[in-house]
């Protein structure tokens, strides 16, 4: 890029750190002066200033607007990050979450003053249990991994209640999200990996061989991380139940099957649902999420507090493990979970309705299959046949080209697309996982396909100029991640 005196490159402005030009004696907030100088701080007054610089409002707004322009976003273009479900975030949902009756209420106000909020939680619970056919839902988990924890702790509580404390082994496929084994370990289980077949499904024989009277549960993502539905899912459920364990289903990919499958019929005992995926609450650059967890009849009594129940006098929040929550495994978090996300998700559900949600799954799956079919002659699909909501390729089409999956992904940036998920799932060599979602038009998909095909053709004809040191056109060149980890600089000094 050209060097300019200002450091800007046209529209792309220079982005200094706040600490490089903010001033310690400046504030962008005017505060009413103190009238009563009396204090009751004991001897606890802060001794040293925190060295936090301030900016006036015009400077602060410009600072963050400039930074924002260095981000890719779903509102800017296609973001086919497999496993992450980057779909359009309806703005109505933002407006609803900001209604004072939702945003400006305190979690510990008297329940009589928050009946509408409890009603909303109750209605969201109705949608989640009706869409899955499950008995109950725990709303409070703060994100997907927290929802996994909720399900696994409910399983643990059920086992303990039934005198099965010796069951502490959890079976997890090699293809699982890293959160699954991490969650199992965090809930005090040991993790036993199960393999996968050549067609990308759980190796039933390996699973079956690893069952035993110390097995607590199996955690299966369905559709799985290869973007495929597990056809033997009910056999797996039946086998784990027969062996005395429970079936945890990772619902990260529920977007592919919402309105198409009755989850309860598959023998699922617990499944978290990422409201920030299937029900389109914004990802916000890494959260907040929300991970309500639906539970079977067997696990429902062990759901964590709080719970919302409908009574003759309205809605009641059960906050303590007594009465109808007597067997609750405990509390996972202060207060009641991600209300802001509940409002957005319910707005999304109401907008789509039962009919629209079914269409969501069908269009998401159609879009992924269209990409798979349109690229399979120039790239290498990891598995034969149709996919669900995401198309998975391995890197065999790049063999001998010198181009890696990473290079290929970075070249996508120059084409104006967010790259696909790279190197995940781990069971596929050089994996590229493409999830278009249902909110992309055919026109956008065709543009994405044309760019991806052109790159694949270029790589295979050994024209590596688009890949070497890519991206070339992004706000930053490739960043040195090794240096960042070797000499960590985690704050401005």
């Amino acid at each position: 890029m050209e060097n300019t005196t200002s450091g800007a490159i046209g529209l792309l402005q220079k982005t200094e750190l706040l600490f490089e030009y903010g001033r310690l004696d400046v504030s962008g907030v005017d505060v009413t002066p103190i009238a009563n100088p009396q204090t009751r701080l004991g001897k606890m007054k802060r001794q040293q200033n925190p060295q936090l610089p301030g900016l006036t409002e015009p400077e602060a707004v410009r600072h963050y607007v400039r930074l924002s322009q260095r981000n890719y976003a779903i509102d800017l273009g296609m973001f086919p990050l497999g496993s992450c479900t980057m779909k359009h975030n309806p703005r109505l949902n933002e407006a609803m979450a900001r209604l004072a009756g939702f945003a400006d209420i305190h979690p510990l106000q008297p329940q009589s003053t928050v009946q509408g909020a409890l009603e909303l939680m109750h209605e969201l619970s109705f949608w989640l249990t009706t869409l899955t056919g499950m008995q109950a839902v725990a709303l409070s988990p703060k994100a997907g991994a927290h929802g996994e924890q909720c399900g696994m702790l409910a399983i643990r509580a059920a086992l303990d209640a039934n005198g099965q404390q010796h069951r502490r082994r959890v079976l997890v496929p090699k293809s699982a999200h890293g959160t699954n084994p991490a969650t199992a370990a965090q809930c005090g289980f040991t993790v036993d990996e199960i393999g996968q077949t050549a067609n990308g499904r759980v190796d039933f024989a390996d699973f079956y061989a690893k069952l035993g009277d110390d097995v607590a549960a199996v955690m299966i993502t369905n559709p799985n991380t290869c973007g495929l539905f597990e056809p033997q899912i009910k056999e797996i459920a039946d086998a784990i139940h027969a062996a005395g364990g429970y079936f945890y289903c990772d619902g990260a990919n529920f977007n592919a099957i919402v309105g198409k499958v009755k989850i309860a019929e598959l023998g699922v005992d617990a499944m978290h649902i990422n409201l920030h995926k299937t029900f389109s609450t914004p990802h916000g650059g890494g959260g907040p999420g929300s991970g309500p967890t639906v539970l079977s009849t067997a696990l429902a009594p062990f759901a964590p507090v709080p719970l919302v129940v409908k009574t003759a006098n309205g809605f009641e929040l059960v906050e303590n493990a007594s009465g109808e929550a007597e067997q609750a495994f405990g509390r996972m978090v202060a207060f009641h979970g991600q209300m802001g996300m509940y409002v957005r998700a319910l707005a999304y559900m109401l907008s789509h309705g039962g009919d629209g949600l079914k269409q969501v799954a069908e269009d998401a799956v159609l879009n992924a299959n269209y990409i798979l079919a349109s690229l399979k002659d120039v790239m290498s699909p990891a598995f034969d046949g149709y996919c669900m909501h995401e198309a998975l390729f391995d890197d065999s089409f790049l063999e001998g080209t010198g181009v890696t999956t990473l290079d290929f992904a970075k070249a996508m940036i120059d084409e104006g697309f967010h790259p696909m998920t790279m190197y995940f799932p781990l069971v596929v060599h050089g994996a590229m996982l493409i999830e278009p979602t249902e909110t992309e038009s055919k026109n956008t998909l065709d543009g994405f396909i044309a760019s991806t095909r052109a790159l694949a053709v270029a790589a295979r004809s050994n024209d590596i100029s688009k890949f070497d040191h890519a991206p070339h056109l992004a706000p930053s060149k490739r960043l040195d991640e090794v240096m960042a980890a070797r000499k960590p600089v985690l704050k401005y000094v």
Binding site: V61, Q69, G101, I105, Q109, P110, M339, G340, L366
Partner: protein, 449 residues
């Protein structure tokens, strides 16, 4: 359907290109008995934007918004004024609708703001390093306990009677299944030092709070020295981050891990979430931290840039050996925190904090003048525990009936508390309160007692 761009014509032509007859060809792996062949009958059909807005607005209208009444609830969530520009920034598409910054070349906006967030948090709490956020204060506290056990290779935890009971519960939920033993001391208005008597060479950490759930602020330095002499860590907890504009931060008092709720800066009450957990510690424990970390580096041109780093701690690399299972955190709430704190600076922060304290002192003075009401908290920032002549839960309901949200009964947080604690009301004030609010609270309280 306004959110679905494919037309029926598109669908047909795409099916043709794929060589499929029907979209259901893609769903044949689903067992027949589990398939839903029509929209679920119990669910309504799609609605217009106007219909959805009416439906949800009607629900919202059934709630009493904090801003519409004299309002004094705290106990872990606080109502502060957030400048309009903060919400404007976090609603920018480029921040709102992006993902965890896995592709740093097109995510410098998010990464640099996280780096600024980490720097601000570390400076505010007076700690060496901070992570890029946790779900909230309670889960940050739970993770801190687990981290302390990992660092010390010990399994006993002592929690003071001043830590927010929900935080204690979240820590117990996480810790009890991985072989950690937690001892929780009796609820105490101002005795954080009670943990010292339980110190021993097998204690992983003590968990203490300042301000604590009763609003008490106290010097934790003696606790830190005593714990560290035994090789134990000190986890310092807070629920009101605005306090550190005015009072001594936990890092300065020798706490090894400092965790708490960051909601007060940048984030609305939201009925309890989403919030933003703050997590900070010493540099030597950096690789034991949970959560994301943004780090500085350079790009191929030698220009400064930022990336997610030290990810070998995390679940997507280490799987069952990860420091935590956390993946999605509170990115956008952390951004709101950073924008708000950039606007405040230490100057504005100090002024807002001083205003909060002023209002709390006024509340204390107003309540002290009421017969049979005792302010129990001696030194405080913006929250006080008040002893009433009858159960506080009953009093808040009676106050609500008079249009005053007068605080949080301690018994709501700890239903098994002593009879004495049952009469304790937690009352918080912030810069959003006025003298009229305080008068309304005092008048209403006199009437109901």
């Amino acid at each position: 359907m306004r959110y679905l761009p494919l037309s029926d014509e598109n669908r047909q032509s795409m099916l043709g290109a794929i060589g499929a007859k029907n979209v259901d060809d893609f769903f044949t792996d689903i067992p027949v008995f589990a398939r839903l062949n029509a929209p679920i009958a119990e669910l309504p059909s799609h609605k217009t934007e106007l219909e959805v807005s009416r439906h949800l607005s009607a629900m919202a209208a059934k709630n009493v918004a904090a801003g519409s009444v004299p309002f004094f609830c705290g106990a872990g969530a606080y109502r502060h004024h957030v400048p309009a520009s903060v919400d404007h920034i976090i609603q920018r598409s480029e921040f709102l609708t992006t993902y965890t910054p896995y592709q740093p070349e097109i995510a410098q906006g998010t990464l640099q703001t996280l780096f600024e967030f980490q720097t601000q948090v570390a400076r505010l709490l007076d700690c060496e390093v901070a992570n890029a956020s946790m779900y909230d204060g309670s889960t940050a506290c739970a993770e801190a306990v687990v981290m302390a056990a990992r660092v010390t290779k010990r399994n006993k935890i002592i929690i003071s009677g001043g830590v927010h009971p929900h935080y204690v519960a979240a820590a117990q939920t996480l810790a009890q299944n991985i072989g950690l033993e937690i001892m929780v001391l009796d609820a105490s208005i101002d005795d954080e030092k009670a943990v010292i008597a339980h110190l021993a060479s097998d204690i992983a950490c003590v968990v203490v709070s300042c301000p604590n759930v009763f609003g008490t602020i106290s010097d934790l330095s003696d606790i830190s020295r005593a714990a560290q002499a035994q090789g134990s860590l000190v986890v310092g907890v807070f629920t009101e981050v605005m306090a550190f504009g005015l009072i001594e931060p936990l890092g300065a008092m020798g706490c090894d891990i400092v965790v708490g709720e960051g909601q007060s800066i940048g984030n609305a009450l939201n009925f309890g979430g989403p919030y933003v957990g703050l997590f900070a510690t010493r540099e030597k424990y950096m690789r034991q931290m949970p959560g994301r970390l943004a780090g500085e580096t350079v790009d191929l041109d030698g220009n400064r840039g930022f990336v997610l780093t030290l990810s070998t701690r995390e679940q997507h690399i280490r799987r069952e050996k990860a420091t935590s299972n956390i993946c999605t955190n509170s990115g956008l709430c952390a951004l709101a925190f950073t924008v708000h704190l950039s606007l405040l600076g230490q100057k504005g922060l100090g002024q807002v904090a001083a205003k909060c304290h002023e209002m709390a002192v006024e509340v204390a003075q107003a309540l002290e003048s009421i017969d049979r009401v005792t302010v129990l908290t001696e030194a405080f920032f913006n929250e006080i525990a008040v002893s009433l002549p009858k159960p506080a839960a009953q009093v808040v309901d009676e106050l609500a009936a008079k249009g005053v949200l007068g605080g949080v009964p301690y018994s709501r947080l700890d239903p098994n508390c002593s009879a004495q604690m049952r009469n304790v009301l937690l009352v918080a004030a912030t810069e959003t309160n006025t003298k009229d609010d305080i008068r309304a609270l005092a008048d209403a309280l006199k009437e109901v007692l």
